[in-house]
């Protein structure tokens, strides 16, 4: 069983070394794939000097685009299961085994910050919290499944999902919401496990408010158009 960890990284040279060291210690048999999303700092050098796979994009594609490349590489190199992991130190490697264990029952497992069992409260601003609540309601309405954390970046995938995502992973921001719809459309099962998250170890949060509003409206439109629409134009194969 080959397991890969996909780390989308945009200017993460500060926090990435510690993340890679920690991963090498806790899950030494997992293949690390760092996707350098057009960073202007030493992210690629950090990854290469740690002797992990580093896919260097020529310019910034955004998180969705970087992930899609990671999925594509994983699928093409015969990986059986993979999980997405943040390069800024927010995610705790000790949660990985739990996440992977739940892949027995689902095709994608989300590490949720908002399930009740999580003791530590993850801090988010009021406007973001409201936006998230609305997205949750809409996802429930469209897919019929209650997902407590629609924007978690800590998720595990079985190979069939990797193959789907390699070609069709949504590339715009708020990709994770669209990904849920995509999985629903293809009849994949999604489940959640509670995880604790830490404060980011470096780098800055990547969104400004206006942009957030724009993308929020965009996702609302995607949700309204719903499922039943065809795959995006021009994807490979």
């Amino acid at each position: 069983m080959r397991t890969a960890v996909i780390i989308p990284a945009f200017n993460e040279s500060e926090a990435l070394p510690a993340v890679l060291t920690e991963l090498a210690r806790t899950v030494p048999d997992h293949e690390v794939i760092v996707v350098d999303d057009g960073s202007t700092d030493k992210t690629a050098e950090v990854a290469l000097s740690a002797r992990v796979t580093c896919l260097r994009l020529p310019f910034n594609l955004g998180i969705g685009g970087a992930l899609r490349l990671g999925f594509r590489h994983a699928a093409e190199s015969g990986i059986d299961q993979a999980y997405q992991f943040d390069g800024d130190g927010q995610h705790d490697p000790s949660e990985i085994p739990g996440l992977l264990r739940s892949l027995d029952q689902a095709d994608m497992v989300i590490g949720s910050r908002f399930l009740e069992e999580t003791h530590q409260k993850y801090r988010v601003g009021i406007s973001r919290r409201m936006a998230m609540a609305l997205l949750r309601r809409l996802v429930l309405k469209v897919t019929g499944q209650a997902i407590s954390d629609t924007s978690s970046g800590f998720r595990a995938f079985r190979r069939p999902v990797l193959e789907l995502f390699a070609a069709e992973y949504p590339v715009e921001y708020m990709d994770s919401v669209e990904a849920l719809l995509l999985l629903h459309r293809h009849g994949f099962r999604v489940s959640e496990v509670p995880v604790k998250m830490r404060e980011r170890q470096g780098g800055r949060p990547s969104n400004r408010n206006l942009r957030l509003v724009y993308h929020f409206v965009r996702v609302l439109i995607v949700l309204a158009v719903g499922f039943g629409n065809r795959s995006p134009t021009g994807h490979l194969k």
Binding site: V35, R56, L57, R72, H73, V171, T233, G234, H235
Partner: protein, 122 residues
Amino acid sequence: MTSTAHLLIAILAVTAMLLIIRLVRLQALKAKYSVLWLTVGVVLAVAAAVPGILDWVADKVGVAYQPALFLLLGFGFLLLLAMHFSYELSRLETRVRSLAEDLALLRHRLDRKSTDSKQEEK
């Protein structure tokens, strides 16, 4: 409009068409886009050279004020054009993205090759 104004517009339209043809010959403009602009040029030139035409069309479709018809058509045309460009842009974006992915994968393959050969040298 005076006939001088009509003449002026006709000359402008013809000049624009000549410019478009020149751009195509210099391969600075794709022939497929030139078709569109040449059509616009012809319509403008004809409308300017034969002043009665616009009046006649306006009368047929029931528009009392002829310039309004002209502006309406122009506006509709520009809207369609903008939509077409959005469509082309989406398509290009998808292609550029695929190219970027391929480039990253090829770079990776190259990296691996060079580290492999370095290890062999040792």
